[in-house]
Amino acid sequence: MPTSKRPSFDYLKAIGAIVWKDLASEMRSRELLSAMLVFALLVILIFNFAIELQPTLRTTITPGVLWVTFAFAGTLGLNRSMAIEKDRGCLDGLLLAPVDRSAIYFGKALGNLAFMLIIAMIVLPIYSLLYNINILIPGLLLVVLLGSIGYVAVGTLLSSMAVQTRTREVLLPVLLFPVIVPVLLAAVKASSGFLQNLPMNEIWPWLNILIAYDVIFTAVAFIVFDYVIEE
């Protein structure tokens, strides 16, 4: 890579290769997506018993239920996607590749983002169907995208740390949840704003927080990822 004439192009190609690798292996095994999906549906099912999702309360409770579901299913996916790399020694292979380390981070993060969005795209219509409430509105989809970016930006970094510790899978939610409070809070509030048709000036502060969080933490993760996988 250092000798390349078009480093930025090679960088993008390296990211693309990692994303493609993750998606291709997932399309063949489907172990990650199926686990995430079944788990997400179970969480929604349990919420149905735990808090009676009465028609009158649905617009106010739905965003909370959705984001708890995404956050829980997300940790499952993040853990699995890093455990695969670690267990079969793929991470060492990736580190040996002559690409910038941050390309590995962006590749993994984009892969994880794709998984999150695929799950969301399946869960949202099913939720709409089950609870007879239309949540497939453009505003909410935007919030799902922004929220997932923030979640995955920090999640990918922390999962690559958690996978290298003794406690492994157990550690990720403990590390991740306290630092993604702004994402979850802003995403829930923005989602409920869109569902209740609030005026945009009440929703913008939340979207701004999501955008700011996404930008800040993608940048920070980009800078510190080197320290996390340096061996």
């Binding site: 290298q164 003794r166 306290p178 630092v179 409070v181 702004p182 939340w206 927080i209 996390v228």
Partner: protein
């Protein structure tokens, strides 16, 4: 390990004297608050504990960044020492705050921006300690904990900001209006003096404790090295 430095002994003695002085100022010098009476006295130590908690937080984040740049394990010890002290002092601040809140707000806890952020900060510290426990290699442990401190240091202000926006759009139900306004009081000069004296006292205690903890960390490091030599 060298014997305890004279300055540290001096700091320890000074901490004790200042602490007794702070207690005397709180109970003898500061006037009684008109509405809350003796309940308000806890405020002086509450704010001093919260201050030390924040101080530790800033020291930890700074030490973490310095470690990542310099890769010197002594900064890792500073960072861990600051986190441990901050964890304890913030916990005391939360407890004293709750004791004050019960008579003033009628509840031990509300989901106010400050309270919630304090709780999140404690969670980050606990996660930090769990992370350290899970890694044996000291160099990797130092790297990971420095990264996590950095992530925490950036996310906590964003959390505070977002919870604050949430509170302005939806005011707290318990306590009515913004909970910060409930139970506030004007301070007389004597009260201000007492407050600043407590802040100074706890800052000295913080420095002394930090120093002790760093020394302990270095000793632990030496024990590890001796163990390693013995094993070979």
């Amino acid at each position: 390990m060298k014997s305890q430095p004279k300055l540290l002994t001096l700091l320890t003695v000074l901490s004790v004297i200042l602490f007794i002085g702070a207690l005397a100022m709180v109970f003898l010098y500061a006037p009684l608050e008109a509405v809350m009476n003796y309940v308000q006295k806890i405020f002086y130590f509450h704010i001093a504990n919260a201050w030390v908690g924040m101080l530790g937080f800033i020291v930890a984040a700074t030490a973490g960044v310095i470690y990542l740049v310099k890769k010197d394990l002594k900064w890792d010890i500073v960072e861990m020492a600051a986190v441990e002290i901050s964890l304890v002092f913030f916990f005391i601040a939360i407890i004293t705050g709750s004791i004050w809140a019960k008579p003033s707000w009628g509840t031990f806890w509300t989901w106010d921006a400050r309270l919630t952020t304090a709780a999140i900060l404690e969670m980050i510290y606990l996660a930090y300690l769990l992370l350290r426990k899970g890694i044996e290699d000291p160099e990797r442990r130092a790297r990971f904990s420095a990264v996590y401190t950095l992530i925490g240091a950036i996310s906590v202000p964003v959390s505070f900001l977002s919870i604050r926006i949430w509170q302005t759009i939806h005011p707290a139900v318990i306590g009515g209006g913004t909970s910060g306004a409930q139970g506030s009081f004007g301070m007389t000069p004597a009260m201000l003096m007492t407050m600043f004296f407590c802040l100074a006292t706890f800052s000295v205690i913080f420095v002394a404790l930090l120093w002790y903890r760093i020394r302990l960390g270095r000793l632990a490091e030496q024990v590890d090295q001796l163990k390693y030599q013995f094993m070979q």
